[in-house]
């Protein structure tokens, strides 16, 4: 899991929901595929949890299953009354995590 990328507007309007986009590189191995050479099932290895927090408090989260495409992409909304920082985290089946953060200013 690497290259977490997030897109947060630099300036947002007070009390008006704004769109946030998040993407991370991960193969999202479904557990359904078979190794072509050995014929054995390739074990599941997916990102199963995503969280977005605003100044340390969870705003939006998602529980992911094997039906989410490789390099999972998520877009969602956040509303803020004051300037702050959004932090993002992805966790996979091995417990591996990736994080990212982005600040925004409320106008």
């Amino acid at each position: 899991m690497d290259k977490p990328r997030v897109k947060v507007p630099k300036k947002v309007k007070k009390g008006e929901p704004f769109e946030v986009k998040a993407l991370v590189s991960h193969k999202m191995e479904s557990g359904q595929r078979k190794d072509e050479a050995s014929g054995e099932k390739i074990p599941r290895m997916i990102i199963n949890q995503f969280e977005c927090s605003l100044d340390g408090e969870v705003v939006f989260s998602a529980k992911l299953y094997p039906a989410i495409s490789a390099n999972p992409y998520l877009s969602f909304y956040v509303v803020a009354e004051k300037s702050g920082e959004l932090s993002f985290s992805w966790t996979d089946d091995s417990g591996d995590t990736a994080t990212a953060s982005s600040k925004f200013v409320v106008q």
């Binding site: 939006f60 299953y65 094997p66 989410i68 495409s69 999972p72 992409y73 877009s75």
Partner: protein, 153 residues
Amino acid sequence: MHNALGDEFLLTRRRVLRYLLVGSGMVLPGMAFGNAADALIDAIVGERKAETGELKLTTPAIAENGNTVPITVEAGGPFQGDQYVKAIHIFAMDNPTPEVITFNFTPRAGLAKTSTRIRLAKTQQVVAVAELSDGRVWRTANEVKVTIGGCGG
């Protein structure tokens, strides 16, 4: 008495139909008429009545590549005070694992609108179920035709 007989007849007829289907190989023994996904949805909805409400699910009518099918789901408008959408669950009814994703919102999300990309093993129904803070549940579904299945990934 007449009713009781009628019910019994219906049940019997359903059973016979099932045996016929099993016998003909159309249905595997042990496979319910419903789908495993239906049970998962029933577990969320419970005794509540699921209406379409203001739940909008946007999917392509035809997905050429089942490995990456864009979906967008939106429930209602901007949140008002403590009236908000708690969660939206997505199910792919004929995938090996029907659960696709559960989105959890808080009042600070402001709006329950979210997009992602999903895998569909074959042509099937994609179902969205939204749970509201006041206990209501909304449900909607779209059929997506899949040209090349995305089961293996």
